[in-house]
Subunit: 291 residues, 4 copies
């Protein structure tokens, strides 16, 4: 029995991943379709669950799943940000032992089919990126973020990488013109929860894409990250802070000399691994007024 | 030694998969960007390669890779169909032992960024499906197909499944209104190789999506497959035959009764497995004139 | 209406993929555990299903799923080969319109936990490859194959690649010593269905691995494919024919010269793409007696 | 220009992911083979990189890649823990602006082929889990962890889940006998860096698997997490703390009643989503002597 006194439970949490659901709203012959995936974690006073095998305080992960469906039924066309707020509220109510409930929701947009310029009432094709929402609720309050991922953006020029630190393992040549491509992920924090989230997020996405495209003297992925972040803080008054994860999807010019050809920026190998990873946060300066 | 006489080489082939490349065309400040992946196989008289370890007739798969880059350099903005024809031509030239060269090419479309309605000269976001080309060349001729995959389409109504065969293992209830969704893959054969393939393929895709959307009394995935195939044969005179693979991406209505709620076609579980798989071919009737 | 006469239904089939199940057999305190995945297709007279939307002849894919569970209940510890025979038998019985039923089954082996050399009665860890079975049944008879996949094998020497065809796109240097690695997939056909399949398949796997390891003067992946196939035909009298798919998982020696170091066969880059693909069949020579 | 004053750079880091390499050690005809993947991040004073596009302080991620190969050449059979220490040491040396260097290394074990009980000198098959190492080095010191992932363990009995909290969304029935399965990931912290890491990690893995198998009255995944963690702290004096991530891979008994059959714990559906996620840490109690 002695060994038992030697161990202590440290940080722990539990929940459910991969709760996939779709909702349909039917209104006067025009349908809306939403496809989402929910992940959730609870943290709190769960020591007896672990050390004594006492489940009295455990809200089963199966209930977390069922409640997602039930809450979705109540408001099938609610945005993922509002759903995240409502879901974490339910979770802290349902689990007295929990001190924190966290949820991550992704939405795969489906675009309405257009036929000869006219929107079809109930047919959709799947879009090319995802929207995300993240709520972290404690007994005293909630922190809400929105975001997007799987947004692949690329520019064929306007990107350089030179003037970097060199050491004995340096082989990369400096370049004043390269392809820049990334699978962009971003998450931003709003200063308020009383917003039209659908409008806000489309605005943030547009600002990101425009800043990426227009930043024509990019010296690095970091440099473009800053430009995108600064543009969002500048143009979207509701956003206090934005974080980016920007894998550098390398496009390497093929050496065609062995074939007697000269590659003038025309043919590139696309690689998955290894890949650069650039992450960073841009914040609204305290005291600065939104533009 | 005796055992050696007991074995014979049967059908065999070899090649390279996953040859990824991108090409850029720069023209008066307007750039085009293409991302492709090539796979290739050769078949032929390769018995000594296997049984004697004699590589004299082997065109290395590394050369298959290198020649893709070199051929791409020669015509960086060539369509994948024409590239497939040219590449298989090179392969049969380069490999006297080969009797057949087959290539599959996929292209991930990248859409030009639009900023305030104006196309950006060199920035792109990645599209949501892929184009494909498939060429099978023998010494006597070539067969060319084009296609697409990863085209997710969905309709929230207009689809039923009823009147099916029942046996002792039947539990599925008949339904007169369900969600139909698929990750559509298609491959079609042209009657000619003298076509504007880019125009043709966009036409085929549009016809497929329209037929899917408009087929409002679908009794099964097979029924919609036929409608789409018939529409393509009818509307695209260059297409002789089209094959579809249509996984049935099930959206199952959640039973909300345990929560005291009634699901009126609003909340669905999205599942990956198991999934129905429907495949079929629709052909232009011999002797029938294209519409 | 005219367009309708212009199209004809060609080859078609339908079925279910991803039917995942586990079975447990409990016998005197010793448990057996099996994890499997089943895929199935039917072909036959299904023209009205497509062209008229008439489902009267359709055995739903949901029933294909349910019957897998029911048949598994009847014999939970049956081998996948016998299950494939029994399942396709049921399918042709259940579907009068079908002329052909085909099933592919994979089994992920779970190895019994050994504790201080003693087998644990009910704990398992997941193994590193899969077993497969494939049955194609028509009204007149059945063809059965067994196989394996996801068997990663590698040798650090004993493999060369030289003497190959060269042309203007050749850049690969010849080598007399390289790493050979593959993610081996094989499928073999038995001459009989009255066999102890579990014994047979373990025998085939052992012969494959031994032949791979012992083939110390390999001139190519094709050469080793032949050696493995010949060994199986030679050592496993029940096998009439074996097919291999052998992706060449390239391990490329890193050029360390820029760092002032010399790579003496010590450091390699592991790549996924592109990769060589070698496929081939070895058959027992007609008239040759099994060894 | 005004907008520029409104934004500030927050937390940021950069590095490389997916640096894949293999090393071979050749010693008296007996070869060793190691396959690894390295990921790395630097944090530090990189504000000018972002806001001014000044790369003077940037160690390129390409150099991070090259140095992995060079360091591997120097000691090709070094364990991943020691490599992580040496690599992060190099990184802080090479990058004066960095205040923190972090690396994650995974190793896919390849098992030596045994032929008739004898180890083969240079042939291997790939194992079924991975080893991991994680080093976080700052100017003042380093924190080293080791771990494993992709270890699939399963028990067919000895696991219950009952007595849990119920609310209006509860549908899960209590059970006193279920399958418990997980894709186990663990990471543990050593109290010293002067250890035989290979011996230590195999010891930890054995203790984990034994505790999982022997915990025959498990009331939950959390309960078994605690048992495994307690056993490691108790049996492995070098380990101060261990963290587990235990997805609950649900095996759901199939309802066979519609087929007139009764499922007596024999047939289960295996699902990927949704899945429970249980994470937790077990620490050596401060002041407690290792057993």
């Amino acid at each position: 029995m002695a060994p038992e006194v030697g161990a202590t439970l440290g940080p722990n949490r539990y929940g459910k991943a991969g709760i996939r659901l779709a909702t349909v709203v039917r209104r006067d012959g025009q349908h809306e379709f939403f496809e989402r995936e929910v992940e959730v974690r609870l943290e709190g006073e769960f020591e007896d669950v672990h050390t004594k095998g006492d489940n009295a305080s455990v809200l089963p992960t199966d209930t977390m799943r069922g409640s997602v469906y039930a809450l979705a039924k109540q408001r099938p066309d609610e945005g993922i940000e509002a759903f995240a707020l409502r879901y974490t509220d339910y979770l802290l109510d349902a689990s007295p032992a929990a001190t924190r409930a966290e949820t991550w929701i992704t939405e795969r947009p489906w675009d309405r089919v257009q036929i000869e310029g006219r929107p079809h009432p109930h047919s959709f094709t799947r879009g090319a990126h995802r929207w995300t929402a993240h709520a972290l609720r404690e007994r005293g309050g909630v922190r809400l973020s929105a975001g997007l991922d799987e947004l692949y953006v690329l520019k064929t020029t306007g990107s350089a990488f030179a003037g970097f630190l060199e050491d004995r393992y340096t082989t990369l040549p400096a370049t004043d013109d390269r392809i820049m491509a990334t699978n962009l992920e971003a998450e931003w924090r709003y200063g308020s929860t009383d917003l039209d989230f659908g409008v806000e997020r489309r605005c943030v996405k547009d600002v990101i894409v425009h800043a990426f495209a227009h930043h024509d003297e990019s010296n690095s992925v970091q440099h473009t990250l800053w430009e995108m972040g600064r543009a969002v803080v500048d143009s979207c008054p509701s956003v206090d802070e934005i974080w980016f994860s920007l894998p550098n999807l390398h496009h390497i010019a093929v050496d065609l000399a062995p074939y007697g050809l000269r590659n003038e920026g025309e043919v590139f190998v696309v690689t998955d691994t290894p890949s650069g990873r650039i992450e960073g946060t841009v914040r609204r300066t305290e005291g600065a007024f939104p533009a």
